[in-house]
């Protein structure tokens, strides 16, 4: 079946962007890997992205700069891009194509895996329902995360997304379970400092032994960024599906990934879609994000937390927009809250966790959780609206009733959303803070909470810590 001979061509026809155009040799396979050996002896990897009778188009990781098209040697490897995987990857640091960069020994592979894994059969998926407690009220209370979810952070330049992500990685746990977990970290085109911020943080938290890091910094080749998330997820899948581990994958910054995709598309002279991004970006991103999940009859899970910066803080920009269409919600950071010193500055109205309903409630968090969440959001919405209104007509023209909501919005931001970077709140603590705030509102306004839950949890009836 498999041919043992290696196909080789000696000359490329032309080079453009990160693409090489070469004459076809018999038997080139669509998507197969190529090795390009430069005059200097340097070897770059590439991939066949179009093949016809006359020529083939190669996408070169590492770019085509310094490639002398007359002299470079191009070998066709006959198979798709694969990386070696093994449990020894834990605690190690790799480049974007999975080659060790921490001066440690090479990996002794347990297996070689294609970086584009086959899609999970939707009928074989187990719906994610296990609540992950992050210890952060805004998330646990209002945007609950479950194992197997993909929940990105939509951030803006200069906002503390890295600190939040690091706090989540430090604190996240599933209560009552001691299971093997791992963190896979992919740095995509971020600065050296940012990449090492994470690695240091993980070291300090004492769990570097559970971390596999793939680093492509701002200085690394742009085109390699296309591969990084896929390489990282391949390692994650190995740990989750082969070794039954619960894997959290943090990828930052997916905006850089999308920029690389745009560059590649421009080099291929494709008809650009919205704002220059390729029309297939939705599908391309989906092949990354859909690698999160749980599988029936398998022990592990893959939870994804991609981070992206919204160009100009614009949530309708194609990058956050297409991401939001694929992921199971989004945690949106607010520049306004950040300016006002609220940490984590989560805009809870623009944020959403689509899988929350399956992860909360009796036996998972608490029976009143979902209703408290709905009521908090409703009250905060009202408070926000009154804030805007009072800016125009003045606070004094608001009724007493309205003033309560105005004050609620303030308290909510300062007491519920705001918390320490090293503060870990249990879900009960989070919900009780919520109740204390709701207790400042007229009881008959709490129409989203059942009468039974009011009787059971409202501070007035529990005779505890009521503020009104």
């Amino acid at each position: 079946m498999s041919e043992l001979y290696v196909k080789e061509v000696r000359r490329a026809l032309s080079a453009r962007g990160s693409l090489l155009f070469v004459e076809t040799v018999p038997g080139i396979k669509y998507n197969e890997v190529v090795e390009i050996t430069l005059e200097t002896g340097e070897v770059r990897l590439g991939q066949v992205i179009d093949v016809s009778k006359d020529f083939a188009v190669l996408q070169v990781f590492g770019g085509v700069s310094e490639v002398n098209i007359k002299k470079a040697k191009i070998r066709f490897k006959g198979e798709t891009l694969k990386i070696p995987v093994s449990l020894d990857m834990l605690g190690r640091i790799f480049d974007g194509l999975g080659r060790p960069i921490d001066r440690g020994p090479p990996i002794v592979p347990e297996d070689w895996l294609d970086i584009n894994s086959a899609p999970i059969n939707p009928a074989s998926r187990e719906p994610p329902t296990e609540f992950i407690e992050t210890g952060i009220s805004a998330i646990d209370g209002l945007l609950s995360v479950v194992r197997g979810q993909k929940l990105p952070i939509f951030s803006g330049a200069g906002l503390p997304h890295n600190r939040i992500a690091a706090q989540i990685v430090r604190q996240a746990r599933v209560r009552g379970k001691e299971e093997r977990f791992a963190v896979v970290f992919a740095a995509i085109g971020v600065t050296y400092e940012e990449a090492y911020f994470f690695i240091e943080n993980l070291k300090q938290a004492g769990n570097i032994e559970n971390v596999v890091a793939f680093i492509n910094t701002a200085a690394s080749p742009v085109i390699e960024r296309i591969a990084v998330p896929r390489v990282a997820l391949t390692a994650a899948e190995f740990l989750a599906w082969k070794h039954g581990m619960h894997v959290l994958v943090v990828m930052t910054d997916m905006t850089n990934y999308c920029e690389a995709l745009r560059e590649l598309s421009a080099a291929r002279e494709e008809v650009p879609g919205r704002r220059g991004y390729p029309g297939y970006m939705y599908t391309d991103l989906a092949t990354i994000y859909e690698r999160a999940g749980r599988i029936k009859g398998m022990k592990g899970s893959i939870t994804q937390m991609p981070i992206l910066t919204m160009p100009n803080d614009d949530i309708t920009h194609p990058i956050p927009d297409l991401t939001g269409y694929i992921t199971e919600g989004q945690i949106v950071l607010s520049r306004d809250l950040d300016r006002r010193g609220i940490y984590p500055p989560v805009d809870v109205l623009l944020s959403l966790s689509r899988l929350m309903k399956d992860g909360v409630g009796p036996g998972k968090t608490r029976e009143d959780h979902y209703q408290v969440f709905m009521q908090l959001i409703a009250a905060y919405t009202e408070g926000q609206y009154l804030r805007e209104l009072s800016a125009i007509i003045g606070v004094e023209s608001l009724s007493e009733h309205d003033k309560k909501y105005l004050e609620f919005a303030d308290l909510f931001e300062r007491k519920f959303i705001n918390q320490g970077e090293y503060e870990r709140r249990t879900i009960e603590e989070t919900l009780d803070i919520g109740w204390d705030l709701l207790a400042t509102l007229p009881e008959e306004d709490l129409k989203l909470i059942s009468v039974e839950n009011i009787k059971k949890y409202h501070p007035k009836y529990r005779g505890k810590g009521s503020t009104s």
Partner: protein
């Protein structure tokens, strides 16, 4: 059979040479692995093929073999409750046999060949009868909820020579023989039908019956007719998927088809899971016993998005032909349109608006036009309907984009979802200012039979909401205090309509499905409250007193009342509204 050779591979597009004699939309087998593809264009001897599986590893020169037939659906017992991919491969069976990852090149029949189904013959038919397309030969109780009629396929007629007795048969066993022009044709319970071709019927009927959905904002405000077509556009997170899933759970139909096209795997898993758990309100049976799923998630090959939509419609028409009311939802049609755009770009066709091909509109039309209420072919005489509802995912939630705009040309009900409502957790986030239904007039008569006040309640509520948005402009400038009392009352009532009536939590154990009886009465309560309060204002009762009435809290909790108790609660509420407001009038 035509056999050609691969000439070019570019993503899901393969060009093959030496394909003379092929036809457009013919199924072909591509490469040594025999990946499934479909010819979408022919030029000279070259065929342009969209391949429904990952093309990695294909080489120039590998064989491409024509099948001689069009992409077709298998129709027959065994289809209900299944999950199919866009090529009608049974995903649940594949999951069990092959593992949790979708490998390519897998070929499994859509319907099980070894299951024996209990067939009951049609007692009205005798050997020697002249029979024709759509005539019912018998019935198979496929699930407790589905009587699967076994019909003579379209295009076939003759004299009935044989009809088997009641008994257990597989879908490949001969159950009848007919003779036509001296030729004997053996019929089985299995039909095949090309997915791109509408199934025939006798006559189209006017869509005069409402599709009862149990969603107040639809049933009351923006109704959909049985056999109608509706679109649900909305930005991400606005509630398209939840709404479509809710409709396929609770709409009063005989069978529902849920097509997940280019969307999330976890959502599909959730749907499969909850359809097994949740019970049909009418029968108490699991919803999966009246549902078919088609799943081509966003990470599965893009070309199969198109076939998933057409497969869903074809299954829908097949059950319509049995005389059933069928609902088919597609989430999301935008992903299908994007797949069309991708293939079109690779074909280097002239791009239209935002890169979509010029035929985007006509493709959408072909799809939505397959909805309808019809007199079915064959005897006994029966009418069936297929209602189509498509989600649209406009980039940046901007409805001026081509897919939304083209869709609007063909649909009867627009359920426009508004991200800003969703951010405020007003669900379903249906914009009462943008949405519309062209079926209001046609189905009004049907509603009137049981609920004479339906139309009036609806029109009043909508005009109050309309007025609210005008008044809010003023409030934003000068504050609420500047308004006259009557307007302030209107704002209060508008808020009640929005929060106590329109908002409906899809996950609430009681409120997720609201029967029409309750829907109409709930709105009636709010309107009665408005009428009495208006009168009280005129006789000088201050608004604050009305606002403080305890009955308002009870109105806000109407949703939680189980439907069977609501009649009583309704009477109690109406009495309390009357008496408490009257006593305010007297007291003042």
């Amino acid at each position: 059979m035509v056999v050609g050779k691969i000439k070019r591979v570019s993503g899901p597009l393969v060009v093959a040479e030496g394909m003379r004699g092929s036809m457009v939309y013919e199924v072909v087998y591509v490469g040594e692995e025999r990946l499934i593809g479909e010819i979408i264009g022919l030029q000279g001897e070259d065929a342009f093929i969209q391949v429904y599986e990952d093309t990695s590893g294909l080489r120039v020169g590998e064989p491409v073999e024509g099948s001689g037939s069009l992409l077709s659906a298998e129709l027959g017992p065994g289809i209900v409750g299944k999950v199919y991919d866009g090529l009608q491969r049974p995903l649940s069976v594949i999951g069990e046999l092959i593992g949790p990852f979708v490998k390519r090149g897998v070929k499994l029949p859509a319907l099980p060949r070894d299951v024996k189904w209990p067939f009951t013959r049609n007692r009205d038919l005798k050997v020697g009868d002249k029979v024709g397309p759509g005539d019912v030969l018998g019935v198979v109780k496929e699930t407790p909820l589905i009587d699967h009629l076994i019909m003579i396929p379209p295009g076939m007629h003759g004299e009935l020579k044989e009809l088997v007795n009641d008994g257990d048969y597989t879908i490949e066993d001969t159950i009848a023989v007919i003779e036509s022009e001296g030729r004997k044709i053996e019929l089985t319970m299995l039909q095949k039908w090309p997915v791109r071709k509408p199934r025939p019927y006798t006559r189209r009927l006017e869509p005069t019956e409402p599709l009862i959905t149990g969603q107040r904002v639809i049933d009351m405000m923006f109704p959909i007719a049985r056999g109608g077509k509706a679109a649900v556009p909305g930005g991400f997170g606005s509630g398209k998927t939840v709404l479509l899933q809710t409709l396929t759970k609770w709409a009063r139909t005989r069978l529902n088809i849920y097509v997940g096209c280019g969307e999330r795997g976890n959502e599909m898993a959730d749907a499969l899971h909850s359809f097994l758990k949740l019970k049909d309100p009418a029968s108490g049976r699991p919803l999966a016993e009246k549902a078919v799923f088609v799943a081509n998630t966003s990470n599965m090959p893009v070309a199969a998005r198109e076939t998933s939509v057409f497969l869903g419609v074809t299954i829908g028409e097949y059950f319509r032909d049995m005389g059933y009311d069928v609902l088919m939802v597609a989430d999301s049609t935008s992903r299908w349109a994007e797949a069309m755009r991708e293939i079109s770009a690779r074909l280097e066709e002239m791009p239209g608006e935002e890169g979509f091909p010029a035929y985007l509109g006509s493709r959408l039309a072909e799809f939505y036009e397959r909805s309808g209420r019809v007199d079915c072919l064959g005897r006994p005489k029966r009418a069936g309907s297929l209602t189509i509802i498509g989600a649209v995912s406009p980039p940046g939630a901007d409805f001026s984009e081509p897919v939304t705009q083209n869709t609007l040309r063909y649909i009867g009900t627009l359920i426009a979802l508004d991200v800003s409502l969703a951010n405020r957790r007003h669900f379903p986030a249906v914009s009462w200012l943008l949405s519309y239904s062209r079926y209001v007039e046609t189905i009004e008569r049907s509603w009137r039979k049981k609920f004479p006040q339906w139309r009036e309640l609806r029109d009043r509520a909508l005009s109050i909401l309309q007025r609210e948005s005008e008044l809010m402009e003023i409030v934003r400038l000068v504050g609420p205090d500047a308004l006259p009392e009557a307007d302030k009352l209107l704002l209060d009532v508008a808020k009640m309509i929005r929060e106590d009536f329109l908002q409906q939590n899809a996950f609430h154990p009681i409120d997720s499905y609201c029967p029409p009886e309750k829907t109409v009465l709930m709105l009636d309560v709010i309107m009665k409250f408005y009428d009495h309060s208006s009168k009280a204002l005129l006789s000088g009762v201050p608004l604050d007193k009305i606002r403080a009435l305890p009955v308002k809290v009870k109105i806000a909790r109407m949703k939680e009342v189980p439907p069977e108790e609501f009649g009583k609660v309704y009477n109690g509420l109406i009495n309390e509204i009357k008496s408490s407001i009257e006593s305010l009038v007297k007291g003042g």
